[in-house]
């Protein structure tokens, strides 16, 4: 059974689609890069997968996963870093599945949190407010929280944006480690070289699927050119969509 299945999915805002008619499946344990120009719908698609955004049309199937079996790493811009919360407490929110509203953080949970923080190289940062961290350190904190969530499906929204090469290497190693453990990983990315080298499967988006399959076959100059030519559109006078959804891929 597929870990993720898209059935004629259209996602967007106020009836305006950002991703049209996506069909296809992601196998359990796959490592998928989602690429495309700005405004292509990458973040929208990931938000649809994790349940933040309801599809305007079609459906997304999670292969029997509970929503709590999904870990989501949002873009840093979506986080209010002026809020007075420490690295320890922020990472600790990754234990929500176990703690929920009232569960305490016992000795075992405390050690788990400390281990996750240490795993991303932030030993000694536990009591630092997140507002005092650099961009790269904040990204490590977000990865530590994902680690703690221990999820079957991991969804990463531009996880390597604006961070230095050492941090990228460290965090990419974590992604590959998760893949090695058999977890399914989807990541929205911009670095084509990284995608080519490390991700076995790629979905090119341009407000709809351009191509989806093994990276070596999909990442061609022709497909990238098609994606680059995507026109951004948000037309209040647009007619209702009449397309019935063209299958882009069935794994």
């Amino acid at each position: 059974m597929a870990q993720l299945a898209f059935r004629n999915v259209t996602l967007g805002y106020d009836r305006h689609p950002a991703v049209h008619h996506l069909n296809g499946e992601v196998a359990p344990g796959a490592l998928v890069a989602v690429i495309g120009p700005n405004g292509a719908g990458k973040s929208t698609l990931l938000r649809g997968i994790v349940g933040i955004l309801k599809p305007l049309d079609g459906s997304i199937h999670l292969g029997g996963l509970d929503a709590r079996d999904i870990a989501y790493l949002p873009q840093s811009a979506d986080i209010d870093r002026t809020f007075p919360i420490s690295v320890f407490d922020f990472v600790g929110t990754g234990l929500w599945r176990a703690t929920s509203l009232f569960g305490g953080i016992g000795k075992a949970a405390r050690e788990k949190i400390l281990r996750a923080i240490a795993s991303v190289g932030l030993n000694g940062f536990e009591n630092r407010p997140i507002g005092t961290l650099s961009g790269g350190q904040m990204q490590r904190v977000l990865f530590a929280r994902v680690l703690l969530q221990d999820a079957r499906l991991i969804v990463l929204d531009e996880p390597f944006n604006a961070i230095d090469s050492k941090t990228t290497v460290d965090l990419l190693a974590l992604v590959k480690h998760w893949h090695g453990e058999g977890r399914t990983v989807l990541a929205a990315l911009h670095d084509m070289e990284m995608v080519r080298t490390h991700f076995s499967e790629t979905l090119i988006l341009a407000r709809g699927p351009v191509a989806w399959g093994p990276t070596a076959e999909v990442l061609t100059p022709e497909n990238l050119m098609v994606a680059m030519r995507m026109c951004e559109a948000f037309d209040d006078t647009a007619a209702a969509c009449a397309a019935d959804g063209v299958s882009s891929r069935a794994a």
């Binding site: 349940g51 989501y72 979506d78 209010d80 809020f83």
Partner: protein
């Protein structure tokens, strides 16, 4: 001498003891709510809501005079109505929620003052606008204490989702559906505490004992728990000192409390450890790491 000035009024007069108990209850519940209002960038929303409760309280006054229960119930209904209406208008028209709220609160303030003027005197109007904590009776004090207790209990229930929703709302939506209910419960607590403060400080100053202590605490710590504790202590100190000031100088009690809180705020702006002016001018020698 010092005893007479600072302690005497409370040992001697029952109304001063009641007022002190009321400001402590208001501080315990209102200050934590104020911290979250500030951190969620909703300080002015709180101010607008404070005005929004006026017509309801005024209708209560019109029907039952200066009756606590009628005015509290009216204030709660008006507060929720304006919050919901402003939200509906914002979502259905694209108008920003703060602009929508500003429209409603101005209309509410005008309507409330008009209603009070129909039946009441200028003294009643002053009571509604600025409160009178020194005139608080046992019944009112019990209601204030009850509201404060409910606030702390509800806040304890929604604390975790409220914190996560404030810092990373998208994450919370992926792991739980508690964010929406927590936000609504928080808005309800804002209204409850404004109505609570309304009795003591009036509609124009009710939000003062919530927001000013939060602003004070922000200058002393970067830790949320410490921030809440400092805000509660600052509110209680302002309340106590304001009552003493009012007793000794005959300044109205509500404005006296808010003025003391303002002085504490100015001291914090100048000397606060986190971002205070003096600290920025004379930061000391830099550290090694």
């Amino acid at each position: 001498m010092v005893y007479d000035a600072l302690i005497g009024p409370f040992t001697e007069f029952e109304f001063m003891r009641r007022a002190l108990a009321a400001v402590i209850a208001l501080s315990l519940a209102g200050a934590p709510i104020g911290v979250f209002l500030m951190l969620r960038r909703m300080s002015l929303v709180g101010d607008a809501m404070a005005h929004a409760i006026l017509p309801g309280a005024a209708i209560g006054f019109l029907l039952s005079g200066l009756n606590l229960f009628a005015m509290t119930a009216g204030g709660l209904i008006a507060g929720f109505a304006v919050a919901i209406l402003a939200g509906v208008v914002a979502r259905s028209t694209g108008l920003k929620e703060d602009a929508s709220l500003a429209t409603f609160y101005l209309a509410s303030l005008a309507l409330g003052v008009t209603i009070v003027s129909i039946k009441g005197t200028n003294i009643d109007l002053l009571h509604v606008l600025f409160g009178n904590i020194l005139a608080m009776d046992d019944q009112t004090l019990l209601v204030v204490a009850f509201n404060a207790t409910v606030t702390l209990l509800v806040l304890a229930v929604i604390y975790r989702p409220l914190v996560i929703e404030s810092v990373d709302p998208l994450f919370l939506r992926t792991v739980s559906r508690a964010g929406g209910p927590a936000h609504l419960a928080f808005l309800a607590l804002v209204v409850v505490n404004l109505v609570n403060g309304f009795q003591a400080l009036g509609t124009l100053l009710a939000v003062g004992l919530m927001i000013l202590p939060a602003g004070i605490a922000r200058f002393w710590t970067r830790d949320l728990t410490a921030m809440i504790c400092i805000a509660v202590v600052a509110a209680a100190v302002a309340g106590y000192a304001g009552l003493v000031l009012s007793f000794q100088t005959r300044v109205p009690s509500g404005p006296a409390i808010i003025l003391v809180a303002t002085v504490l705020y100015i001291v914090s702006v100048l000397f606060g450890r986190v971002g205070g002016v003096v600290r920025q001018m004379f930061p000391g020698r830099h550290l090694e790491a």
